[in-house]
Symmetry: C2
Subunit: 532 residues, 2 copies
């Protein structure tokens, strides 16, 4: 049957800029609310990547200003004291989708080379305003200024204005301004929540936020310790595939295949390389350039089947550490109990990762829902706010933890924090809002949570016991005058023991047994005497 349309189709190729312009919702730019939130996020996360990952204590200023009386146009400006950008890369860094310094094996908040360009694109498509960038690197004598837009069809920057001047003081960093159509009223709660969650894990940052209402929100630096910055590493052989081997073959054509393996992978030395190549049936001294596809495939399979490789180096990842999490949770919630744990590095698909977990309980901690604690999710120090329902942390909390085991019944004044850091976070989408259910990561989250929850349980059990003891002491103390009177009747006159002394002795006995101070017990005695 073919009663209908002739099968004529129009084919065309689109640039990555046009692709992401067309499908901007997959990068989180689905409407004026999300776009404003996402723009602040992308600029702010770049600011932190330019500072803490390079050993600089971050000073970040964010401002959002309304710039049109009729239309809801907002100018978002973020300034950092980071390493700055070399002037020759500025145009591509802001005007070419899929251009980045972050396509390396090192933990960064940015990953895709996409976020800030999406903000630039969204700005120019809604308001027509270009992005403006001012930047200077440490040690450079000059400051550089650019005004540019993206040519969507070509995926290339179009420079509209540029300038440079000598520095008067030793400033370094970057200032970026993007003007876009937004919806501040509805984006505000999300942006506020994002920032307050962010400072939980970056208590070493100074953050100033100027809102469109000219409100100033200030998060002062709480500690001056920076987590160890991550260092770029070579890929681990566990993550190898044929495509990677082909690219390495082109780059190292003149090396022997053994040297190719040793130079390009971590954890591979003389003996490992030789053993792998023997198993693959490839001569170790063969020039890499002459390897056939079949040989490359045999090498890949030999590597994947190799048992004795050292796990990936964790130098490339930078966890927060217990102190930062504890400080952050304490500052945010003023809880009666707080604890955190950093697990040891693990691996999935050749990528090292570390899971950290924290709990805050009681005190100012907010009350949770009926079926789970309040969850704070983080990935590479980014707070994740959307899509909680499809995140691996939520799966663990709802399915893998037996909360009754930890003396917890919901609702409870309990906040749980989970931070996953890795050279590659398996986000479910380029909008970076939820982490995929990777078995290795799920297992570590479960173990990290169990570890902090065990300590919380010890606290809760001790607290319950102490309260029980106190309750008994109060009960007992009530009868001390009575008992003292009775005893006094029996022992009257002997050894000059009078009633007051007896009472005193009884208080001492009770205090000793209950592990409380004399004052605490005595207080209950008085109270009851007065009360009776």
């Amino acid at each position: 049957m073919s009663n209908s349309v002739e099968g004529v189709e129009k084919y065309r190729a689109i640039s990555p800029a046009e692709f992401f312009y067309k499908y901007r919702e997959i990068a989180g730019f689905s409407n004026p609310v999300r776009a404003l939130y996402q723009t602040v996020r992308e600029l702010y996360e770049n600011a932190l990547d330019a500072t803490d990952a390079h050993g600089i204590l971050p000073d970040v200023k964010i401002s959002i200003k309304r710039v049109d009386e009729i239309q809801e146009y907002y100018r978002v400006t973020v300034e950092d004291n980071g390493i700055g950008l070399p002037p020759d890369v500025v145009p591509n860094a802001f005007g070419k989708v899929l251009f980045s310094s972050k396509y390396v094996l090192k933990q960064t908040r940015g990953m895709y080379g996409l976020g800030v360009k999406m903000a630039v694109l969204y700005g120019q498509m809604t308001t027509g305003r270009p992005v403006e960038v001012i930047t200077s690197k440490q040690g450079f004598k000059r400051i550089y200024y650019f005004k540019l837009r993206i040519d969507v069809n070509k995926n290339e920057p179009v420079i509209l204005e540029r300038g440079t001047w000598r520095k008067s003081r030793d400033w370094h960093g970057t200032i970026v301004s993007i003007t876009l159509e937004g919806d501040w009223a509805r984006a505000k709660p999300k942006i506020m929540e994002y920032l307050s969650r962010s400072v939980v894990v970056t208590p070493y940052a100074n953050i100033i936020f100027l809102t469109p209402e000219n409100e100033i929100i200030y998060y002062p630096r709480a500690i001056s310790i920076l987590p160890r910055p991550p260092v770029e590493v070579k890929p681990h052989p566990f993550g190898v595939d044929l495509e990677m081997m082909k690219q390495l073959k082109e780059l190292s054509a003149s090396d022997t295949v053994k040297d190719l393996l040793i130079k390009n992978f971590q954890s591979v030395g003389e003996s490992t390389a030789t053993e792998v190549l023997n198993r693959a049936g490839v001569d170790p001294s063969k020039p890499a350039g002459s390897l056939g596809e079949d040989e490359l495939l045999r090498i890949v399979n030999a590597i994947k089947g190799f048992e004795n490789l050292r796990p990936p180096s964790a130098k490339a990842i930078s966890p927060l550490g217990r102190e930062i999490i504890v400080t952050g949770l304490s500052r945010m919630f003023k809880p009666e109990f707080v604890e955190a744990v950093t697990r040891r590095p693990q691996v999935y698909h050749g990528h090292p990762f570390i899971v950290e977990a924290g709990v805050a309980y009681g005190g100012g901690t907010p009350q949770s829902e009926m079926d789970k604690p309040v969850i704070l999710r983080y990935a590479n120090k980014i707070p994740l706010l959307y899509d909680e329902g499809s995140d691996v942390t939520t799966f663990v909390i709802k399915e893998d933890i037996n909360w009754a085991n930890y003396s917890i019944a919901f609702p409870a004044p309990l906040v749980v924090l989970v931070h996953v850091c890795s050279t590659k976070i398996p986000f479910k989408g380029v909008g970076k809002e939820s982490i995929a259910d990777v078995p290795e990561i799920r297992r570590e989250i479960r173990l990290a949570l169990m570890e902090v929850l065990r300590r919380l349980k010890i606290y809760l059990v001790r607290k319950a016991r102490e309260e029980e003891v106190k309750r008994r002491v109060v009960l007992l103390a009530k009868y001390i005058p009575e008992i003292a009177r009775s005893l006094h009747t029996i022992v009257r006159g002997e050894d000059g023991i009078d009633q007051e002394l007896l009472k005193q002795k009884l208080v001492e006995i009770v205090a000793k047994r209950a592990g409380l101070s004399l004052e605490e017990v005595a207080r209950s005695v008085e109270t009851v005497e007065i009360g009776t």
Copy 2:
């Protein structure tokens, strides 16, 4: 402070092919299980797009064969009887990421120009095997053969082999084979579920699936009615932005700005164009090529603020219709009640969309979970299996429907089907597994569900009433002999009425009141007499 690393970063641009190779998990290729599932999906969905969207009743053959004894390499082949591909576009259609015929305003299963290339990429990076394509268009005299791979750095096809021969019979369609590393044992249940859910909404397709175990799974065509194929339309002005206007300006530079609007948008005629341009303060007869950015922006804002535009045309979308949904659900579950509804077209962000909903209840319908029915989600006729927890349909079912209102308490033998079709489905990711929470769509899903649930309620209430009546009849019938006896004593002899006749009369009265047949009531009378 800067005690540390010098801020040197390595910047580079990557091609879209390298981007998606690097971040393949965002397109659903995260591991051998998902990759095998996703490969079958992408090829199968392309096969359907090449047939039903062009008025051809689909005949699709899928086969998966293991092709290596040691490694888990599978060759996936999908053959369709579709419109075929012109030979000159084959290399790009399979070897260039972001090349497609689907970047137009028309409902298709494919959207991103990404899926099949991801499968080709995954195949070549895990097994080194190229993709093979055989194709011929309707009316063409020749068949074309290609063997090719993707150059990841350049994002270009590399043709390894090609051939052509004359057709001996009038075959048209496409056969694609991709060899990749997979995990059949674990992918099998998902692939099976995917296919069985797919045939629910494509009962007009003939599907044959040959598994690696040489099992043949056959879904024969159940009906020969095709849904009306979608037709490409011009964009609706509601979806306009400055970027789009700039591109149109380049393409229509010699037209007047009024003609630009009339020619390039649907729902815009003489008077609308003139009115919009008046409001924007732009002379309608001005040549489009001479428009400044400020004027373009004023036009965009005038269009967005315009109230009287006709809503977008629904010609570009192709719903299933009530009959297909009812047939599909009946065939799958053999329920005691089934109903479906197709809502009228609506709009979000300038895109037309239609929501359809179906319910199956009782009979062979599976029992649901404790808090919600079994949910079958579809988007543009694709079943969605993963990420149910973050899909808008799940939100509606869990938050927006008061199930008690419809006489439903969970668990219940209830399946709910929701189909969203549009020129652009707001998927949350390029893996196409869940739909974003867009208010306009959420509202329509709620209304569609309420409509089918109201009908289910009528059925359930009537069923309950009938059961209640029967229960009462049984109760009443029990006393008929007794009553007959008593009555007979009173009226004995008069008019020759005997006891049997009285019983008969009583049965008639009860049957009439209850709306049942005499036999039904009489049966209860007998039963009870025997029982007593």
